[in-house]
């Protein structure tokens, strides 16, 4: 990157709130898997004469989010109408918040290559989602659009950052942090693929050392972390290239295309959109008392950043392993339960934590991917899992065996001992039978023995390989190595 320039990035994240019902009516907000237009009523369809009623749970979740990212909570908040006309907006205005959002002035700490940085959060406000439009092109050249109103009125929070990020990497880190916070406090499922966590990015360039903001470009609705990152990288380069040949950046909205890996101009903003905000007359202001805030505060337990630090400290895990483990609540809890159980079984705390983390971070996600499964589909408990860890630490299973047993446990829900027995997977640690096998192998492979005696340490690997072949992989490699060395020395 041309280091004459400094990149300035601000992010607006829209995240659907995890409530049972919609923002202003009693319809279920579980629209994702519902039949189109089955979660609708006169209120969310914007029919004449109907009135909104605020979902209290949504207000609580947004207060909770605000608190989790260090915001101050306004003592009085109100709703405003944001006026624009589009067929996905049932009332012709979106009920949103303009000048008195629920939460303001927060911050979020990110860490990149060991450097800590604080990103300011301008505001967190509450609004309603819009309907889904599905555009259909027919083979005969005509086209039409369908409207699914299920999503209209689903509670949405908008989290607006300060323009504090200086690289796509920082933006990516901010998004990951924010995502893990809203998930951990159960404010949102924050599923990006399903559209319950969406990001718009503002990016501009300026000469290093200057403070004035450059002309910004807005990249809309990018639907994965990777795409946000790639879009920002692309846009950063595009803008620098333009500036370098003396061209102006045009203030516009650009869309990211995953196929062409490019941002494409969508709409040029010649003048700012005029949403004609005014206070929503159908909803009186909401008073947020200190008691209410305190009560919500007391429900926030451990935030992701705190949890990572605790995992690093108490389990002696790397930051990488810790953050992978805590990114899913079910896995994090399963991990902690297992390691504690291992301790009860008299195993070493740190080494069982390491073994457990490896199985969960590496093997579990591989198995889930291969078998196209969700965590919730799996059936094993931490008691069985701790026995598996015990078998590994006592060398009853080698690492290949352990993986096979683990996979079968997850799929069949049986105990590891039963599975290992059924599959005949137990290591031969019995020295007598190994002594005999090894003595035969040494006599059949005298050149290798000779090599070892001449100082070629690698010869030992070949011999172990032969032992494994003979025992179908069941020999305990550690014990086998010891026996090989002692037999060669004796001869």
């Amino acid at each position: 990157m041309n280091n004459k320039y400094e990149t300035v990035i601000g992010l607006e994240v829209h995240s659907q709130l995890l409530t049972n019902s919609k923002m202003f009516c009693g319809c279920g907000s579980d629209y994702q898997k519902a039949e189109p237009n089955s979660r609708v009523c006169p209120v969310c369809m914007g029919m004449p004469g109907v009135l909104p009623v605020v979902n209290r749970k949504a207000v609580e979740l947004i207060i909770k989010t605000g608190l989790a990212i260090g915001c101050s909570i306004n003592g009085e908040t109100k709703f405003d109408r944001k006026n624009y006309s589009y067929p996905d907006l049932m009332k012709g205005y979106q009920i949103s918040q303009f000048d008195l959002p629920v939460a303001i002035n927060g911050n979020l700490n990110i860490s990149l290559n060991g450097n800590e940085k604080t990103i300011g959060v301008t505001r967190v406000h509450l609004e309603e989602d819009v309907a889904r439009l599905i555009h259909k092109n027919e083979p005969n050249g005509t086209s039409h659009s369908l409207i699914d109103i299920n999503r209209a009125g689903v509670p949405l929070m908008e989290i607006v950052s300060e323009p504090d990020m200086r690289s796509p990497e920082e933006a990516n880190e901010y998004l990951i942090q924010l995502h893990s916070i809203v998930r951990s406090i159960k404010a949102s499922t924050a599923n990006m693929e399903e559209g319950s966590f969406r990001c718009d990015a503002n990016i501009s360039m300026r000469l290093k050392g200057t403070t004035e903001l450059g002309t910004k470009v807005e990249i809309k609705n990018v639907n994965s972390f990777r795409s946000v990152f790639r879009a920002l990288q692309f846009e950063q380069n595009r803008q620098i290239n333009l500036l370098e040949i003396g061209e102006q950046i045009i203030q516009e909205t650009r869309g990211w295309s995953d196929e062409s890996e490019k941002t494409v101009s969508q709409r040029i903003k010649e003048f700012a959109a005029d949403y004609r905000y005014f206070p929503e007359p159908d909803l009186p202001p909401i008073i947020i008392s200190k008691q209410w805030v305190d009560q919500i505060k007391s429900t926030i337990t451990e935030l992701p950043a705190e949890k990572i630090q605790r995992f690093i400290k108490s389990f002696q895990l790397s930051e990488y392993d810790s953050s992978l483990l805590i990114s899913n609540d079910i896995i994090a809890t399963f991990f902690e339960d297992t390691v504690n159980e291992c301790k009860n079984l008299g195993l070493n705390y740190e080494s069982s934590a390491k073994t457990c983390a490896n199985l969960l971070n590496v093997d579990l996600s591989r198995i889930l991917n291969e078998k196209q499964l969700q965590i919730s589909d799996l059936n094993t408990d931490y008691g069985d899992f701790s026995i598996l860890i015990k078998m590994i630490s006592e060398d009853t299973l080698n690492s290949t065996m352990a993986k096979t047993v683990f996979e079968n446990m997850l799929l069949l829900g049986k105990s590891p001992i039963e599975i290992a027995d059924n599959l005949g997977l137990t290591q031969i640690s019995d020295t007598d039978s190994l002594e005999q096998i090894i003595s035969e192998i040494l006599s059949q492979n005298s050149p290798a023995v000779q090599d070892y005696l001449e100082g070629k340490e690698t010869a030992i690997r070949f011999l172990i390989g032969q032992v494994m072949k003979e025992t179908k992989g069941k020999a305990n490699p550690k014990i086998a190595t010891e026996i090989i060395i002692s037999q060669i020395k004796k001869s």
């Binding site: 029919m47 004449p48 004469g49 109408r81 067929p87």
Partner: protein, 487 residues
């Protein structure tokens, strides 16, 4: 029941007739349907007459009465302004936009009346989306004043006021955003009440200006007004602006008299463009109140003169947002022969809305636009707060305020259609109560050239009892409410 007998019938005495089984609700309902059929060609008060369902309602009401389970309004035939949603009966707002709109839900008030076993005869005509003061802005028909069918009934609840005046029903419910219940009540010689903002749920009232709209009864007498309010007032969890305050028993206090009542008469309501004959009638009415024991004091409410301007910024602003939903995509009128989506939306609105509605959408959109918001909308809201405060202060010293409802009597059809400003000035005396959110009533107080004149009274928020007390005392002392059109 004989047609002429309907002219003197009130809810109060119909209740007695029904309860004593001298008449059934079915007989009463059939009499009103006949009366509607006889008079409707002259008056045009109904957009929809729901004859079949009314007869059904009446039969059900008779069952309730027979088993002694009746309430105050069981079996009472009524009309609803056609901006109040009725499940299964089309609700048009007298707009082409909603000409064939049949709501799948009832307004809160509709449900309340149905629960009582009241009989819905049909839907009353109005100025399109309640925007107007003469009911001439209806997309379907022009309602005539029963006292003189060459004149307007007022508006926007012209259908309801004319219908009650012509004894086509025992009462009607209207909506009042800037005088839309009281001004037509005044012009048609009936009683019109705009309750405190939030006293009656707005759920199912098709919104014009949400912070000003309020539903209220149009009746033959003050007592009837109290009986209706008693049954439609109260908290509704579906309307966040409805007030969670118990509803007093209005009938218990209505006849307590007004001895010692302090009545303020703001001089600002006797200035701008008031017809001298109307002024004289109102001054005479004040003497009646004084003779009944009230203390009359002339006061000044200097901010009154700003109310009209404030109204014509706030109401169109809210309307401009409330009416954006009518785009032909989901329900209502849809201009089908369009080239594409945007063209379809534009043409739907171009042909679906009338001129006055378009005028107000434009006014409101302009007032809210960036760069103008502070100078118009925000400033209007600030003045609104001051006006509200001015009234609050006045009600520290006075029980009620009294003034004319309208500067003039009913004007000729078409007289003011080409001059929106002249039309808007009709509401100059009624608008302040909407701006302040306070209750206000108009009652018959005299005749000028055979046309009714209304006396308006206002009280502090949630003080409807005082209004009923004062209005009832006046009504008992006068005969004006008994003068009926010759139809």
């Amino acid at each position: 029941m004989h047609q002429d007998d309907l002219k003197t019938l009130t809810i109060e005495n119909a209740r007695n007739l029904l309860d004593s089984r001298e008449i059934t609700s079915l007989e009463l309902t059939e009499s009103y349907i006949k009366r509607i059929e006889n008079t409707e060609t002259d008056i045009n008060a109904f957009v929809t007459i729901s004859k079949e369902s009314a007869i059904n309602d009446a039969k059900n009401a008779d069952i309730l009465i027979d088993s002694g389970e009746q309430n105050l309004l069981t079996g009472i035939p009524l009309q609803l302004k056609d901006n109040l949603c009725t499940r299964g009966i089309r609700t048009t707002c007298s707009s082409k936009m909603l000409e064939n709109f049949i709501p799948p839900y009832d307004a809160f008030v509709t449900e309340a009346l149905k629960n009582q076993g009241a009989v819905i005869l049909g839907k009353g005509n109005l100025d399109e989306f309640a925007m107007g003061s003469s009911t001439e802005n209806s997309a379907f028909q022009t309602t005539k004043n029963p006292f003189d069918i060459t004149r307007v009934p007022g508006g926007s609840s012209g259908g309801p006021a004319a219908s009650v005046s012509a004894s086509q029903c025992l009462f009607s419910l209207g909506s009042d955003t800037g005088g839309s219940i009281r001004q037509p009540a005044s012009l048609c010689g009936v009683v019109g009440l705009k309750p405190t903002y939030g006293r009656v749920s707005r759920f199912g009232l098709i919104a014009f200006a949400s912070s000003l709209d309020q539903i209220g009864p149009i009746t033959h007498t003050v007592k009837d007004s109290a009986m209706v309010l008693q049954n439609i007032a109260g908290f509704d969890s579906k309307d966040s602006t409805s007030l969670n305050v118990p509803v007093p028993n209005y009938l218990e206090t209505i006849d307590k008299g007004i001895k010692g009542f302090k009545i303020g008469v703001p001089k600002e309501y006797f200035q701008e463009g008031i017809n001298p004959e109307v002024e004289k009638i109102i001054r005479d009415s004040l003497k009646v109140l004084e003779n009944l024991g009230a203390e009359i004091t002339e006061i000044s409410l200097p901010l009154t003169s700003y109310a009209l301007a404030v109204y014509y910024i706030i109401a169109p602003s809210e309307a401009s947002a409330n009416l954006t939903r009518y785009d032909g995509v989901k329900y209502g009128f849809n201009y089908i022969e369009s080239e594409n989506m945007w063209d379809g939306i534009e043409k739907t609105r171009q042909f679906g809305f009338g001129d006055e509605v378009k005028r107000r959408i434009l006014l409101g959109t302009y007032a809210l636009s960036s760069g103008y918001y502070d100078a118009f909308y925000l400033k209007a809201q600030k003045v609104r707060t001051l006006i509200r405060k001015e009234f609050e202060d006045a009600f520290c010293d006075f029980d009620v305020l009294a003034m004319p409802t309208s500067p003039s009597t009913a004007f000729k059809l078409n007289e003011k259609m080409d001059d929106p400003m002249q039309m808007y000035l009709n509401d100059i005396f009624t608008i302040p109560a909407n701006i302040a959110g306070i209750p206000s009533i108009s009652i018959p107080a005299g005749m000028n050239n055979n046309l009714p004149v209304g006396l308006q009274m206002m009280s502090g928020a949630l003080q409807e009892e005082k209004l009923f007390q004062a209005a009832y005392a006046f009504e008992q002392a006068t005969e004006w409410h008994k003068i009926k059109p010759k139809l």
